[in-house]
């Protein structure tokens, strides 16, 4: 077997050195009743070529050749081939967590750069070395706010990603953290009247997403003011990280929980992605996840190490800030490389392209008489429209034309029965936007 570097004679030599007559002897500690007598019923073994064929056949059963108008927390963006050329280097791909700093300086310096980029993007003072994804980052941010304030209730905007809210609910139940949802207003932003009414001395944090799941930006500075007036923290979640190229960063937030998938990570049917928590320096000891710090060696040379490890489970055990151990390091490296390639101008240009394409798409769709935009607040690259009939049926018709239609908002918001969340990024050619609008017009003109 090509992954096993021993010849039969080497195995014999090694057994002889151990003093065992057969490999079975080495398993004597497993009670005989539990030792398998038959090989496992597994498919294979396959050669390399057969493995590739297998997955190519699976790929052919997916959505090759379709154009997509889906965002809803996962975004199609251009990736440079340079990213894979670098992260596929064995020294990055096959290296371990950098606990032994002297032989992991490559990983550690890259993480330090990642932490810096995240601070620059979010306007926060410190950022960690990654969480699993945006949903668990947001959840951990809420738990962090509970620790910092000593209060046990969070107010979460309904316009936060529905799956993120579900994850929070799963964790909060066992943390004794109360969660109350705050509705959105006609503008699509969080209802500030309802929020003010709910904010009190028990509130650990207010949690919003910006741009939110309905596509609109939230007034972060005002929300921070409202929260701080009650000594509650403001947690801002970001699902479409490219928005930070054009939208004012949530610097007034106390904790930012971001999904970094938009920075060079393929959609990959849901993962792996990369979550980040960024916050103020004074909360750093309550932050979960790894942190890389700059230091010097005995000769005064600059180097980097994992630091403040006493927050983590391998030291604090049952008193740790989180149980996270393995994180999303290689994804964070990919995001770092991607951001360095884009750079200051490139990120801005990318954000402008997204903004422009989405606005163009909206204007094309609004030319269809029965289609109108829902919500009025500014949006980035996603917006909601109201259709005259079921979005599910419309999408089924679009699918026949090789168009994967917008997200059906009704599945997550039952009150938004005929609403669709349209996402357009720099990857959608103008011709496809126009084709989508034309198809939609035609479908809506057909009798029901």
């Amino acid at each position: 077997m090509r992954y096993l570097p021993k010849s039969p004679s080497e195995r014999s030599e090694m057994l002889a050195a151990i003093g065992a007559k057969s490999i079975e002897e080495l398993f004597a500690s497993v009670p005989p009743g539990f030792r398998l007598k038959q090989p496992l019923a597994l498919p294979g073994p396959l050669s390399e070529a057969e493995i590739i064929d297998f997955f190519k056949a699976r790929a052919a059963e997916n959505s090759l050749g379709y154009t997509r108008f889906l965002g809803a927390g996962v975004y199609d963006h251009l990736r440079s081939v340079v990213t894979d050329a670098l992260i596929q280097r064995g020294e990055f791909l096959t290296s371990y967590t950098p606990y032994q700093a002297e032989i992991s300086q490559g990983t550690l310096q890259a993480i330090f750069e990642f932490q810096t980029l995240m601070c620059q993007l979010t306007g926060q003072e410190v950022a960690n070395a990654s969480m699993y994804d945006g949903s668990t980052a947001m959840t951990e941010a809420a738990l962090m706010a509970e620790r910092v304030t000593g209060r046990h209730r969070v107010l979460v905007a309904k316009s936060v990603h529905p799956e993120y809210r579900q994850v929070l609910a799963t964790y909060a139940r066992h943390a004794g953290l109360g969660v109350e949802e705050i509705p959105y207003s006609a503008s699509g932003q969080v209802d500030s009247v309802a929020l003010l009414a709910a904010l009190n001395d028990e509130t650990a944090a207010v949690v919003v997403q910006s741009p939110n799941f309905l596509g609109v930006v939230e007034p972060v500075a005002e929300l921070a003011g409202m929260s701080h007036a009650k000594q509650a923290l403001l947690v801002v979640t970001i699902a479409e990280a490219v928005s930070l190229g054009a939208i004012r960063p949530p610097a007034e937030a106390d904790i930012v929980a971001m999904e970094g998938q938009s920075f060079g990570l393929a959609p990959s049917y849901g993962g792996p992605f990369v979550g980040v928590i960024a916050s103020r320096e004074r909360y750093v000891r309550q932050m979960p996840g790894r942190l890389t710090g700059q230091t010097i060696d005995a000769q005064g040379r600059r180097g980097f190490v994992l630091t403040l490890a006493t927050r983590e489970q391998h030291i604090r055990r049952e008193k740790a800030t989180s149980n996270i151990c393995t994180n999303q390091a290689l994804c964070a490296l990919a995001a770092t490389i991607h951001l360095c390639l884009l750079g200051r101008e490139g990120l801005r240009e990318l954000a402008v392209q997204n903004l422009s394409k989405a606005s163009f798409a909206l204007s094309e769709l609004e030319k269809i008489p029965s289609v109108k935009r829902a919500f009025s607040a500014p949006f980035f690259n996603e917006f909601a429209v109201e259709l005259p009939r079921s979005v599910k049926l419309v999408n089924a018709a679009l699918l026949r034309e090789k168009i994967i239609g917008p997200f059906v908002l009704g599945t997550a918001y039952p009150e938004l029965t005929k609403h669709a969340l349209v996402c357009v990024t720099e990857t959608t050619p103008r011709g496809e936007i126009e084709r989508f609008a034309a198809s939609l017009r035609r479908i809506l003109e057909r009798p029901v």
């Binding site: 000891r285 490890a309 006493t310 030291i315 604090r316 008193k319």
Partner: protein, 133 residues
């Protein structure tokens, strides 16, 4: 180093020095040695009530965290704020400049059951012997 005789000691390696109805708490030289280089100290705010034998803070080194247990009950009246900028004082002068908190004692009699310097020295000698056995 010989342990100062002006104070009492606990099994968890804290010391307490009384003056009037107030007392000063700290951790011993043995404790700081076991911990290694101290990087952070977490202390309660003034006004916090502490109870004998209960934790009232933590001391961290790079690789370990240690709870600190109150030698006696009372109310915190002052904390040593110099330790936040210079936690290394705990390694340098655990019995002097690196005192942790001053407490108004609820029941000064609690101190009587604690070890004196000689008893504590014997206790840690016993501990060390067991550790290397």
């Amino acid at each position: 180093m010989p342990y100062p005789t002006d104070r009492r000691y606990t099994k968890d390696h804290e010391w307490v020095r009384v003056s009037g109805d107030a007392a000063t708490f700290g951790i011993t030289d043995y404790a700081q040695h076991e911990l290694g280089d101290v990087v952070f100290v977490d202390l309660p705010v003034s006004g916090t009530k502490v109870a004998a034998g209960q934790t009232f803070g933590t001391v961290e080194s790079v690789k370990a965290v240690s709870e600190i247990y109150a030698p006696a009950s009372g109310e915190v009246i002052e904390i040593n704020s110099s330790l936040s900028d210079a936690p290394e004082k705990i390694n340098q002068d655990p019995h002097g400049a690196a005192w942790l908190v001053k407490v108004r004692l609820a029941d000064p009699a609690e101190i009587d059951s604690l070890m004196d310097a000689a008893t504590y020295e014997a206790y840690i000698a016993e501990n060390s012997r067991e550790a290397s056995a």
